[in-house]
């Protein structure tokens, strides 16, 4: 089950997202006819991505195991990476090159080829525009393989070597997140604190503050934070008022 992220859900509700995708496809088609270069490239990459998705679904349905020699994710990884290699000098930051790079690495992750994934990630320059999304891929790989050491050392290196403040901030944030997931709360706190001090006002600083609060106050066995609100039905309720009962809080949305 893939959960919706807050970013996704505050931005556009589900139906809107589907509509947005339809509009994007229309835009891509229209643009492909009028203006040549960049969107045509993006369309090429999108075609590879959708083939990869279909092939992978087929493969899993017919009982294929991730990472098998026949795993189509490996074939499409190669195609997408080849695309990246072709354009990485001239158009490293073009949306098509970034999309091809990210998707190629995502496919390696799906095929559970972690060492190959690490080797390829190592070839990205510190300011490669793909890093923003590659971090998510590396976090997912770390979580699946229960080994955060590569992610942490890579993020440490990028926090130093990158120039783009967004990549630097994200690197620090990922260090915090990785340590937190390995239950090294002291190091997690340090990293999150660094994000807040060094990159104030950013999305990463805001998330780091939330995580710091969670590390301090939202552990199992701690008193749940008290709140009082009025319900849709007009009743005043508070958590304190429910003492003596077991309470289920469900955060949700209609989207």
């Amino acid at each position: 089950m893939r959960r919706r992220t807050l970013e996704g859900l505050f931005g556009s509700p589900g139906k809107g997202r589907r509509l947005g995708l339809a509009l994007l496809l229309i835009t891509l088609t229209v643009n492909a006819q009028n203006t040549p270069a960049p969107d045509k490239e993006m369309a090429r990459v999108q075609v590879m991505i959708s083939h990869a998705k279909k092939d992978a679904e087929q493969f899993l349905k017919s009982g294929g195991k991730p990472g098998d020699a026949k795993d189509p994710n490996l074939k499409w990884f190669k195609a997408l990476w080849k695309y990246r290699e072709k354009y990485r000098e001239k158009q490293a930051s073009s949306p098509a090159t970034v999309a091809a790079t990210v998707e190629a690495l995502r496919l390696l992750n799906r095929a559970e080829r972690y060492s190959e994934l690490r080797a390829k990630a190592d070839t990205l320059k510190p300011d490669d525009a793909a890093w923003k999304q590659v971090f998510y891929v590396l976090m997912s790989a770390a979580s699946k393989s229960k080994d955060y050491s590569y992610l942490i050392s890579k993020a440490e290196a990028l926090a130093q070597a990158a120039v783009d403040p967004e990549i630097k901030a994200q690197a620090r944030f990922n260090i915090g997140d990785a340590y937190w997931r390995t239950k090294d709360n002291d190091r997690a706190r340090q990293a999150f604190q660094a994000v807040i001090t060094e990159y104030p006002g950013t999305q990463y600083a805001e998330e780091a503050e939330g995580n710091l609060r969670e590390i301090e106050f939202l552990n199992l066995g701690q008193p749940a934070p008290e709140f009082a609100r009025t319900t849709l039905a007009g009743d005043s309720i508070s958590l304190d008022g429910f003492k003596g009962k077991v309470v289920v809080l469900k955060f949700w949305g209609t989207y």
């Binding site: 066995g221 008193p223 749940a224 003596g244 009962k245 289920v248 469900k250 949305g253």
Partner: protein, 95 residues
């Protein structure tokens, strides 16, 4: 929304055992929320967290997210999947 019937069942089963369900909606708009609460027959209290203050208070990162709070007001589970919720509630009720 596949989880709504499950939660409804769970709510009905535990209603008289001192279990409260509170829905906290992150919807931007009130209207679709009101409509769904009515159409799906969600009879538990609903809060519209329009300013995201409860999201912030509980550091919620996505939906759906469940928190389970014991009789003393302590956090018994956070970010627990729906399918484990029933057992976790029963465990708390036995305490």
């Amino acid at each position: 929304m596949a989880e709504v019937p499950l939660l409804k069942e769970l709510y009905a089963q535990h209603l008289d055992q001192g279990v409260v369900v509170v829905g906290i909606s992150l919807d931007e708009e009130l209207k679709p929320l009101q409509e769904m609460v009515t159409s799906k027959g969600m009879s538990w209290p609903q809060i519209h967290d329009a300013d995201k203050s409860l999201v912030k208070l509980f550091n919620v990162k996505g939906t759906p997210t469940y928190f389970l709070i014991d009789r003393e007001g302590k956090i018994a589970a956070k970010d627990i999947p729906m399918k484990r919720l029933g057992t976790a509630i029963d465990d708390l009720l036995r305490k």
